[in-house]
Amino acid sequence: MILFRNLFLVLWIVINVSTVTGASLQEQILDARDRVLPALVHIQPVIKNYSTGQLEKQAVIGSGVIFHPDGYVVTNYHVAGKAERIICTLSDKEQVQATYIGGDPLTDLAVIQLDLSDYDDTLVVAEFGDSDSIEVGQFVLAMGSPLSLSRSVSAGVISTRDRFFNDNVRLPTGERTGRYNLWIQTDAAINPGNSGGPLVDLSGRVIGINSRATIFANNLGFAIPVNIVREVTTAILEKGEVVRSWIGIHCQALQELEEFFKTDRDIGVLVSSIDPGSPAETSFLKAGDVILEIDSVPVSARFLEELPAFYNRIAKHKPGSELAVKVLRGDETYSFKITTKQLGDIQGEDFEAEGWGFTVKDITRQMQIENNLKDSLGVLVKGVKPGSIAAIGSLRPSDVIIKVNQTNIIGFTDFVTVYNDLKDTAEKKILLTVNRSGGTRYVLLKFNQVVEEQKDE
């Protein structure tokens, strides 16, 4: 023990001496720059957008950082998540192609791999630091391509290390994000195009991935903490995705409500809402229960900032296994088990029914809950192209197609099959049966109509 303490003391002195005798702030910045800037990647994905009723391709700009010698680059999901092809420019201005490996909209992270077959130089790999040991006020550098200006470095401090945003925040690509992570807030300038770039400490380690900034504000940027990045990228490299358990609960901070729920400070997590059709709904759990323990480990969320860690605790449970829960309800405590399900995809697959003038989406369970649908049958209309036969037939976004002519559409593949069968036939009229806000509607696609209109023009 004494030996350990002495060792610690020696280490402490060494570290201090090194900082005292070592570099000035300027030198430290230059040193940190040299460690990470060579690993910075300017990313130009071409992303697929289905929201206008047709497949539209869009060139976007983002940033990323090489974190693995095999050419793996971490960036934001909202940069590369919907990419069809990706062109990357490395810090030595060499261009290479990259392929999409996997992503996680819930933490807004994605991994792409550089195609290095024609690249001769040695790849520089940035090192991940520890986002749990960062401090408010600590100097940081943000690197990336603000407004497409590649290889840009900006400097600032950590403004807050545990910024919470509720999970109603949506990515530019439409998915909700932020349920499972907090954000590091920094005043290092972050602009559109910085997305996916590294936030770096003065020892040259990546402590976060810059993800969002507040428009019209001065220097309010937010980065995903690197400890989350490490977990997510590891999962993507191992399994291609992040697998999470889901029981379907929403919780809120207990602060101000402790007296009402008869609990003490830092004891318990308040369940505020339960998703319909979720494992929690079919279990004993009710909104208003205070969860005291999960798998015999005490849990608490007095403040909002503690919620992501609690959700992560559930998410990390093996899907399909039993979660032991102890709750406080009134004056009584109850212990019971909830069998979790896999969270699954947030958004379903997209498909363009090009000849019909609209796009559809597979309905995942999470979409069913979010759109308040009774079941996940059918396909969801994502967009309707203006002026198309679908638009003329009054098809609308958010309609759920349950039948095409006489064929029931159970799921995504049914629709794709029916579409491919019908698209080249001489059918003049196709009847879609759709669900629209609880009622059934009929949408008739009339083909010669469009041809006639085109003639008119």
């Binding site: 009229k429 009622g439 009929y442």
Partner: protein
């Protein structure tokens, strides 16, 4: 002044004078002097103070209208479009615009002034009704002439109200029947009048009052109502003006629409027009009809045995010629005007994969569900918020089950008040206060009264907001 400018001005003035004088020159000879004398007895000027609440904001405003006395007891009609509950706004997320007249004063043209009270607004025409207080058998009302046969080219005249600083207050205008619209409704269309003159009495060439100026039903808002009820017929775009006929007016005057009282018949379906393309696709022999898209639980439609996908082709033996979505309000208004309790015979086409059946179903219409703005309300003065009872549209818009889901909707919040600061929002559905379940404003009032006696430091609300439930802590300030 240089010469070219003068000549330009002269030309411009000449053109303007010609343009402005043209209708008068061209129109039939109206004896406006005589007409003005006629109008003296029933034309009134209404000064109204209104309280308009829009979510968290409440504003007071003053309005001035031209009114017309329509019975001997002093009932007055005016353009009440701005007073329609939820004017143009559907009941999405409990958001309501509520317009309450707080003070009404009626002045006759001979200078007598009376206080009046609000009766209601007819939703299809926007005609407002007020009643002069204490008025009984003392007024000379307008006597609308029925059976007027309108022909294209007939001239009509009316009086309009001039701004307050101008004397005399009334000015005459003329217009012409431009066509007789047959579909979606019978409507003599006029040209020459403007929408500011709506609800003014129209006189024919013999100086007889034959109706009031109104707009053709505008179905442009028909599809945006989440309840599928087509509760509102917003007047968006440029209204097509014409004659609201004496017959229709007399029915309204005999039984004016009263605020908070629902007297519209309701079948309880959401619906779609049977277009010609669909007729062809399904191989039917119809020129139009109503496709039943959804049947409300416990509604007259459900009791009558209607099924989703049925096509209503006739009502009481009368063909329904709805072949475009824009014509849906015809059916809607027919149901509304038949009224609650009306027995209707529906001829229904029921399709299956193998056959097409024609059924005759009997339905007894019920009163249409209440609009959010008409629902009972409770004002909690201590925590500075209002709640109202849930209405049908709340359940429809939010996909909630009426049988199992209870609550009251936050309808008003005073900015900076305890409820607002504590985090309640307009449209939140309060399900519990403290430990007490709340399903009506009476229950909310009871619990809040108890709380006001006990004066706790905080009140915990359990609310429903955007498909999720949530606890809200409102700190009190006794």
């Amino acid at each position: 002044m240089n010469k070219p400018l003068i000549s330009v001005v002269t030309v411009w003035l000449t053109i303007t004078i010609i343009l402005f004088s043209m209708p008068v020159v061209q129109s039939q000879e109206f004896d406006f002097e005589l007409l003005e004398q006629k109008v003296q007895s029933f034309a009134v000027i209404i000064n109204m103070k209104l309280e308009v609440s829009f979510g968290i904001h409440t504003a007071e405003q003053s309005e001035r209208y031209l009114g017309t006395i329509v019975n001997r007891d002093g009932m007055v009609i005016f353009n009440g479009t701005s007073l329609t509950s939820n004017a143009g706004l559907p009941a999405f997320s409990g958001f309501t615009v509520k317009t309450n007249p707080t003070y009404i004063e009626v002045s006759t043209l001979d200078g007598k002034t009376y206080e009046a009270e609000y009766i209601g607004v007819e939703r299809f025409t926007g005609i407002g009704f007020i009643q002069i207080k204490g008025g009984s058998d003392q007024f000379t009302p307008v006597e609308f002439k029925g059976d007027q046969e309108f022909r294209t080219g007939d001239w009509l005249s009316l009086f309009m109200l001039l701004p307050e600083f101008i004397n005399p207050p009334l000015a005459a205008d003329v217009g012409m029947i431009s066509t007789l619209i047959e579909s979606p409704e019978h409507f003599p269309l006029t040209v020459g009048f403007n929408s500011l003159q709506t609800t003014a009495v129209l006189f024919n060439g013999d100086l007889q009052p034959v109706g009031v100026l109104g707009a053709l039903m505008d179905p442009s808002m028909a599809n945006t109502d989440p309840s599928g009820l087509l509760e509102s017929f917003g007047q968006f775009g440029i209204p097509l003006l014409g004659v609201i006929t004496a017959e229709r007016l007399q029915r309204m005057i005999a039984d004016p629409p009263r605020q908070g009282v629902v007297d519209r018949g309701w079948l309880g379906i959401s619906l779609q027009a049977l277009t010609r393309d669909m007729v062809e696709y399904w191989g039917l022999d119809l020129s139009g009809g109503i496709i039943v898209n959804e049947i409300m639980s416990e509604s007259p439609a459900e009791k009558a045995g209607l099924a989703v996908g049925d096509i209503i082709s006739q009502i009481n033996g009368q063909q329904i010629e709805v072949d475009k979505e824009e014509k849906l309000p015809v059916f809607q208004r027919l149901m509304a005007e038949l009224g609650p309790g009306a027995a209707v015979e529906l001829t229904v086409i029921r399709r299956s994969e193998t056959r097409i059946d024609t059924l005759s179903l009997l339905a007894t219409l019920e009163a249409a569900p209440m609009a959010a703005a008409d629902a009972d309300e409770y004002e909690c003065k201590s925590l500075e918020f209002n709640v109202r009872n849930m209405v049908f549209a709340d359940y429809m818009a939010n996909n909630l089950e009426a049988e199992t889901f209870n609550g009251v909707v936050v309808s008003k919040l005073k900015m900076g008040g305890p409820a607002n600061v504590g985090g309640l929002r307009i449209g939140d559905i309060i399900q519990r206060i403290g430990d007490s379940e709340i399903s009506s404003v009476e229950e909310a009032e009871l619990i809040m009264t108890e709380i006001e006696t006990a004066q706790p430091a905080e009140v915990i609300f359990f609310i429903w907001r955007q498909n999720q439930t949530l606890f809200v802590n409102v700190k009190t300030n006794w």
